[in-house]
Symmetry: C2
Subunit: 123 residues, 2 copies
DNA sequence: CTCAAAATCAGTAATGATTACTGTTTTTAT
DNA sequence: ATAAAAACAGTAATCATTACTGATTTTGAG
């Protein structure tokens, strides 16, 4: 994927500069501080292209809209059903890959979301 | 969760009688064959309640709308980015649970989607 | 470098999934 | 038996996302 456009680069920078998992409109707000007249459609189009190219992850938590993660390496996402926060945890997907190795399914990326209640909300 | 309503029971039956992963409107179409005047809003409300109660799974594949799975036991979902099909594979989440055991996060259910290209589309 | 084709953009309109609302029916529990 | 609570059908409203337009930028061959 060619990363030549100023807009696409700014979007990548926003995603790389946070460990939150912003939604498209949150990315839009942040990118507007750099490129004030960027269009929301441009943000969606680029997030979609970047996700398809495997450079970012699209995290759907089953409620509300999609979230995006600048870290494309598969890992765990702990989603709190109370506050909605998404936390990252490293995880080796070897056991998962082994499980499907003989199914003639060509895996490209994985998204694992664990729903529950986070530390803060559990007090 | 009390399963007393005719509508909710019919929705559960639809989900239990298929290994596809129907969307809300697909569930709606099937349930209408049993209860012709059921409302789409009722389908959404019940799917949402059942999912929250942990009796079904909501599968978001990051494109299009949500899919629902009558099998609430966590397992792998192989999502083909070409044909959109979702296939189930059993998987033991023990290694995942161990990984987060000391994080004070109270897990309730997990959704693992592996994106790639399925057998049929890979020819 | 020059310039035409291709890609991307900003802005806006349209789509479509999901949710919210209203008045009615069903269920529950006293 | 009946009043309160829950769920319903039908419909309107919301809002995330996509599609479309004409303008701008990038690319690549000559």
């Amino acid at each position: 994927m060619k990363n030549y456009s100023r807009q696409r680069e700014a979007i990548m920078n926003v995603l790389h500069s946070t460990d939150m998992h912003p939604t498209a409109s949150q990315v839009y707000k942040r990118v507007r501080q750099i490129i004030p007249n960027i269009s929301l459609g441009t943000v969606y189009r680029n997030l979609s292209a970047l996700s398809e190219a495997g450079e970012i992850l699209t995290i759907s938590v089953g409620e509300g809209c999609d979230h995006f993660d600048g870290n494309a390496k598969p890992h765990l996402h702990l989603h709190c059903r109370n506050c909605g926060n998404i936390a990252d945890v490293e995880f080796d997907f070897k056991s998962v890959e082994n499980k499907i190795a003989d199914l003639s399914f060509a895996p490209e990326t994985s998204v694992l979301v664990i729903h529950g209640v986070c530390k803060n909300c559990n007090k």
